[in-house]
Amino acid sequence: MPAELYWENVNVGDEMPVLTKEPITELQLVKYAGASGDFNPIHTVDAIGKKAGFGGVIAHGMLVMGFMGQAITNWVPNKYLKKFKTRFVAVTKPQDIITVSGKVIKKEEDIITCEIMAKDQKGEIKTTGQFEFTLPKKS
């Protein structure tokens, strides 16, 4: 449960709490396919992933965005989140360990803007993005 967060406590340059996920598994991709309804076989059928030149299945980009959403809402309650945007930079594979980090880049006109990124265990950037939120003010 996120601790109560106020406008006054968040400033440009602040880092959001880092989230490191468990290694992605093939089983997680099967579960995410069923949950999201994205049954593109490149995410679940090894032979298709090989044929596409990835050496096997690759994770749904939206799963990685889901990890980023988790990191955001561990920090900022969902009700304050206004916008969340990601750019998919590199493919993610089973056994990858995704770490999500970010920091505040702008604070003006009642909106706080953060940049956010997801990296793997080798430091390769998988997904970059931005999100915007509001916060209650103490005064």
């Binding site: 997680q28 999201s36 309804g37 959403g69 988790q70 809402t73 561990n74 969902n78 989140l81």
Partner: protein, 150 residues
Amino acid sequence: MGELQEKLGLEFPAYKFVVEQGKIREFAQAIGDLNPVYVNSEMAEQEGYQNVIAPPTFGVCIEMWGGPGFENLMKELGVNAVRILHAEEEFEYFKEINPGDEITATTRVSNIFRKEGKAGAMNFITLETTHTNQRAEKVLISRMMIVERL
């Protein structure tokens, strides 16, 4: 590109999706997000929500399960689905989404442009979907930008 450019502004038929509490739980669990606001209505109410809420990326579930299907959309656009990559995704949030909500979603082609790169030409297509609940309140807009490698 000429033919594709004509698809700008094209709107697909609206569809409906009823949000089930079990679907929200399944979706959060698949991500491995154990935030209680997705599964426990009492905790969610304590946090100021009407009920359990949907996670920030739940729009994908509404669109994939409720929509006409990605391959059909691509066929409609005259785009080869095999040559498509998901480039960007954006969500804009207006209201919480709760179990029992009946979402009406409308997708339109909001942007198309071509880029010439070292690896060849690419078409960028943005599909914007507006999600409205049973009270005619806009709850979510999603913008999916896809790339067709030519």
